[in-house]
């Protein structure tokens, strides 16, 4: 399936990716090529085939409800770009 430029812009917005003006054309081309590749799947007869989300037929293991983590704020925030009073800072959020 061939994508339009506007499709790519829409997808990039959904994925929160800033693309440069001069990149959009190239992505439109390569994404269309990839979609053409994956479209080969459409020919496959998958009627009545149970989708397989996971390689192993396993079920979720449960964790005991016991506190195992202590306060590591200093360590964990040592890699944060902007912190004040223990809070992560972001540009103003408008609800």
């Amino acid at each position: 399936m061939a994508l339009e430029r506007s499709d790519v812009e829409k997808i990039a917005h959904l994925a929160r990716l800033q693309l440069r003006e001069d990149e959009v054309e190239g992505y439109t081309q390569t994404l269309s090529d990839i979609l053409a590749l994956v479209d080969q799947l459409q020919a496959a007869d998958t009627a009545d085939v149970e989708p397989m989300a996971h390689p192993l037929d396993a079920v979720q293991r449960l964790r005991a409800d016991v506190v195992s983590e202590d306060n590591q704020r200093e360590l964990l925030q040592s890699v944060a770009p902007a912190v004040e009073n223990g809070l992560f800072l972001v540009p103003k959020v408008i609800e």
């Binding site: 499709d7 790519v8 997808i11 990039a12 917005h13 959904l14 994925a15 929160r16 990716l17 800033q18 693309l19 440069r20 992505y27 390569t30 994404l31 090529d33 990839i34 979609l35 053409a36 590749l37 994956v38 479209d39 080969q40 799947l41 459409q42 496959a44 998958t46 085939v49 149970e50 989708p51 397989m52 989300a53 996971h54 390689p55 192993l56 396993a58 979720q60 293991r61 964790r63 590591q72 360590l75 964990l76 040592s78 890699v79 944060a80 770009p81 902007a82 992560f88 972001v90 540009p91 103003k92 959020v93």
Partner: protein
Amino acid sequence: MFDKTLAELAGGLAAGDFSSLELTESCLNRIKTQDAAYNSFITVTEELALNQARAADSLRASGKAGIFTGLPMAHKDIFCTQGVRTSCASRMLDNFIAPYDATLIRKFNEAGAVTLGKTNMDEFAMGSSNESSFYGPARNPWDTERVPGGSSGGSAAAIAARLVPAATGTDTGGSIRQPAALCGITGLKPTYGRVSRYGMIAFASSLDQAGPMARTAEDAALMLNVMAGFDPLDSTCVEREVPDYSASLNDSLEGLRIGLPKEYFADNLNPAIAEQVQNAIREFEKLGATVKEISLPNTALAVPAYYIIAPAEASTNLSRFDGVRYGYRCDNPVDLEDLYKRTRGEGFGDEVKRRIMVGTYALSAGYYDAYYRKAQQARRLIQQDFVKALAEVDVIMGPTTPQPAFRIGEKSSDPVQMYMEDIYTLALNLAGLPGMSVPCGQAQGLPVGLQIIGNYFAEAKLLNVAHRFQQATDWHTQAPASIKG
């Protein structure tokens, strides 16, 4: 010393021929003087390595050394390593000093291994050539104008160049096996769930699996003994006994049933590779194996299914990189949307953005059933092919890659052509099965890999088969001509 395997080095350490400190210094020295040609390391952890080596030596002096104590190795830069930059070869994490250890790192530390550094890779493990690394491509020691394969290209190149005896890798669609093949080393992708994914930066959660990369199957077994096993921190890690992978290496191959999928020997396979693989099969026949042709009829579905499922999972796994809690953040964001879009637009490279967009598209409203659901159905068909085949044969063999190592830049402008590199490897990740690549010859002076596929949790069998092959052949001992002593 640099030409020795892990097993040989373990023997030397035990015998007191050299200390871990001497060994480590020698490795560090080789990396320092020679890696400029290969760019196989992103970070060399000299201080950490020397401290670990000293600790290993004193442990040995107190008589408490295990087999891995003091053995030097490298880790793919996808495993979080506390106090060490863990970049995933991305600008996004160029400044990320991991505040915790991945389970795999912790296990190697506890086993006494010495970490020499973090190896180069494709950005976020997305690629088959190592060209998408933010730190520039790693180079193939057999021909430095060629790619080492990817995404674990740095680990493969470092081992092939005899900078390190062994390294960890991860394999989402062939990222251990393909670079192992292209660099002439031995690599194993275990069964999904055999090795913990905790602390391994996720590409595609239902496909990712860590594994050993080394010169020999014997070394891979030593490493898997450390890596494999249950981890309560990973819901997808399997609670199942871990055998001693070294114990069965020498078992006889008499009566081993080998299946050759006809689909793996079709048109796009380089004839020189086909020939080397056939030669290897004859070697197995000499060892007592029987060979039959099998069919994996849904093979053609693997590439399209994979390039929906992997990008879909990746597109959301990589949403956490938003410039808020760690990693790259764009300068002076004017608002929240600007923060997200520029951080991610500037922090991710081209191929990563491409895959995020493919995955976003495949999951978006109106396309889910046509793409994602359909791909999950195809995934089951592919798995069923293998289950049927493995009911009749013990192992499946074929080429690891359709071509030997290609030139840097040759495929980087055409992602689809690049994706076809993994045509023989990625079906295994979809099915969750274990697979190995072992050196089995050369084509145009470049290494050729034989892929060996086994049933779920049959890693011991794969290692046994590979080891017996390596006992009978010397392809795994061949070193690139450029290697300096």
